[in-house]
Symmetry: D3
């Protein structure tokens, strides 16, 4: 390479753009616009409007761990960190107070990877054939495969903190108690017939989780 | 767990929602709005507008089996059962009258699973190397892999009924006779050159299937 | 096209194969060999070993509907219908006796499409925000989106029969009672802490569903 | 950055490998081993066995264009260019002699992008509603969407040459004449019933394309 | 098949459409409308508005090969050839003048398949463990796996021309010099700290590629 | 539900298994066997051999932060945490000493989500059009879209620790200095021609990163 070659390079860049006016340089980034949602994610923000703040979320901070579950769950999905859109990734910070529990739940379309930041938990998921349960501590990583019912219990003597990642940009949370006894008001007789729980047990938990729908 | 813990649970639920106002619980469901279509499917209906009827279709019913093919095909895709959107599933009810035929066709982007409900058919698909053909009856299931040319012939003595499932939410049907001789008006000389059919045969079938486009 | 051209065609076919000896004509079909399994499905059977029976399953037949659930479930996945491998489709026949129930369950990685063949059922799935429940009958189709907890109850006066399709070739079934109270032997205190069910209720259902694991 | 820092860098690299002995640097490349095939492609060759020749194919060369079709088709799929495995890409060189034709065919699971290198062709694909046909020449690019029946006809006065790309690493070719009249030996009465072609026409083309299977 | 049957076929077609008014025949084709973009691609143009020109691009033509790089790159993505939308394919024509170079670059989400049309190039991509470099000529095909840094150098004595295909419909180009020294104005001290290049070298190349951002 | 019904349930479970002997309950979990690798991941371990330790990794622990980069990178991919196989998730713990840097690199097939655990970093990625750079601290989350060149610099006064998640189960790391100047021994003249770096600069960095390959 001689020097003469290099002297023209800035000029070249200009020509390149002139001859390819609609050429898209960074189209594989699709930051969410929140007004239109599709099965693959939200509408893309135009590339020339992107800023670094589309890729940063600043809310993984301590906060009041509310009774009675003693849990604080901070989820960062494509709605809050718009740069996640279309990338198949999201995250959450979970703070579990002493004696606290992240109750039995399922993410219908996400696997979850849990990384302990502080404290100890008993983590587990259940399949029909086996219960996979283990006490984990700082330094441990635990994976919950997609669509499996799972839980966390603080098994230590301090607040437990974990960072978790999900394999979609818009994870959803279906807590078993909300599904069976919550404000979706699923009919008590249906619950009894399809779970074999006693009606008294169902009504008791509906009282706690906000459900009605007796019958 | 003691009773004191449980007494606070309803309160907790309220706090949870207050501190996460934009938290989406069921976003993996994307019921179709029909006005905007993308490669991954239609725009999602807002979650709070969903009803059970978005997940139900009531048209798998008997109907007049029209001559001359003696076939009635009832397709339920995301356009009709909007809850199918983005799920990679759809279905059809096929009624084939006596001597009826579902003629040679291809689904460009779907595999198909056929379950017999009544009667008997000869089902088959063809690859360059082998023809896979079998007489099937009530109790049988037949799979047609994606993009293969296939057919059904009523081989029994009553109306044959089958339920079929497709591996996309918007299946498409390309009947060979429509493609070659139908209202797309493909030029006769092109057909002759690319299929080696005789011109007389092409013109005869164009007369039957609505095609013109001689040349 | 004149006749001279056509006289040479058979000869051509021979040449084509000679010059492309490893050319695969039907490789998009990957019929399962059952010994090696991967995230995308089973190892493919060689194309020259395929027969039509790789694409047919003949077990969607009536059978004894066993008490106490009064349900008979016949699943056809890639293990039984090897042509399903890699196609993202499978199916089941469900027979539900009078008063029978397909109890609350989840398919961790499949959507489900239900087509009624005989009788009536109450079908439903539950999200945190709403319960989607409907009485459906012959002629109706119902879709259960991926990963949602759902159920069927025979609401008629005869055996109910449905054909269902799943959006994967190897569907899995996680019945809630098996998960919580079954032979996976999940510890009673964990169940109590993560579901808020009473210990007495848990022990009662463990007695019925085969679970032990007290503690 | 001062010089002292840099003096240790080679040492560092050694340490990095020592502390992460199983660390995989280039695992997203999965060059085909041909003995095990799965729905997602062939088994991967170990990374330390890869050479540049796994990524090069040298057969896009002129050759004898055989009568009677006057076509030479050179396909490069993952079987021949093993670095294509798992990448969703493959290619072909098509040479079409004067009056030659790439007859009506379908790729069951691939879209195709055609780039003219020499000469002129009439290219087209057909859907039920419309025939998309155009004369194209050097400088033109034509896309055939996945699973659509399509063809090429040399419409110029010299050999036409095109390079085509496919959206899978193992494209398959289903020529309509081979499917209907070829060595798969599909039964003549089935062809007649499902295509409405005359028996005489079918028998005539079976004579040319190697099919038997009368009945 | 007797003649009576055939006489009614045209009539049938009419009935078919009447009883299925919203039936979509070709929905697997999703030609881009350019106003709405999503992770899976652009909004679909309505099927009844499609023309053959949605599937043709006519710009793979010679043009002025600009100094100083001596390269002319003509990309055809879904923005220019709207029928590519959603199909996972696109292409480019690359003309490299004598002594010209397609400098080190990466396509963040695409594999690339290169087919030589004229001349000779040295092609290569680099992984941490090995550099895969080869002199290729007309008749050769080279595959660059997804996300790998790669380059082309004209190693012949005439203009080199290649056609390339990409495994997405909207490929993006990230040239290393543009990334490090270009108009994105990445801070010089950050470049120095994260690449170990000398500040003088960085400033020299920023002068050539348009970057500022010293610090 | 009356009591008589429940008394038979254990018996039912036995019958269910007897009548469906090959019924797979948890096949959507595909824990890696390390001997066979495919584009979709490793061969699955048989379900009856799974233990909870297939889903746990215990190595996210502090360790010696080696000079000269002052970085310790602990990656947990499907090779180490075999339950990750096929789930599209993996993770790493990154410890960056004072003045340390995670140098410019790219993951060819993964997006990355970074969650700060301790300290402060300057994080960034670069596209041709813009550099996205920000100082982030404990409580912040940063997303690097797939295939983009990116980096981290410890900008605080203590060791910085971050947990990161990747959108594949087998992430790969391509550090720019290793690619250009490392043990892959890319030829100096090729580097000069394709990056416009001065030969003296190239040779200097080859001395540091282990590369030879002059020419």
């Amino acid at each position: 390479m001689n020097m003469m070659k290099h002297m023209h390079i800035v000029l070249f860049i200009v020509f390149l753009y002139t001859s390819n006016p609609s050429f898209s340089y960074a189209n594989d980034i699709c930051v969410a616009e929140t007004n239109i949602n599709t099965p693959s994610g939200y509408e893309c923000k135009p590339q020339d409007k992107l800023t670094v703040d589309d890729f940063v979320f600043s809310g993984f901070v301590p906060g009041e761990i509310k009774k009675p579950f003693n849990v604080k769950l901070t989820v960062v999905s494509a709605e809050k960190l718009r740069g996640l859109n279309g990338l198949g990734l999201s995250a959450a910070r979970v703070d579990i107070g002493i004696n606290g529990t992240v109750a039995m739940h399922v993410h219908p379309d996400e696997s979850e990877l849990l990384m302990m930041v502080q404290g100890k938990v008993t983590a587990g998921f259940v399949t029909t054939e086996k219960a996979y349960v283990k006490d984990i501590k700082v330094g441990d990583v635990f994976v919950f495969p997609k669509g499996q019912l799972h839980f966390l219990i603080n098994s230590g003597t301090e607040i437990a903190i974990a960072f978790v990642a999900y394999s979609s940009s818009t994870p959803t949370f279906q807590f078993l108690d909300d599904l069976l006894f919550g404000k979706n008001h699923l009919n008590t007789s249906i619950i009894a017939q399809t779970t074999f729980l006693d009606v008294a047990q169902i009504e008791k938990l509906k009282g706690r989780f906000g459900g009605s729908g007796s019958g």
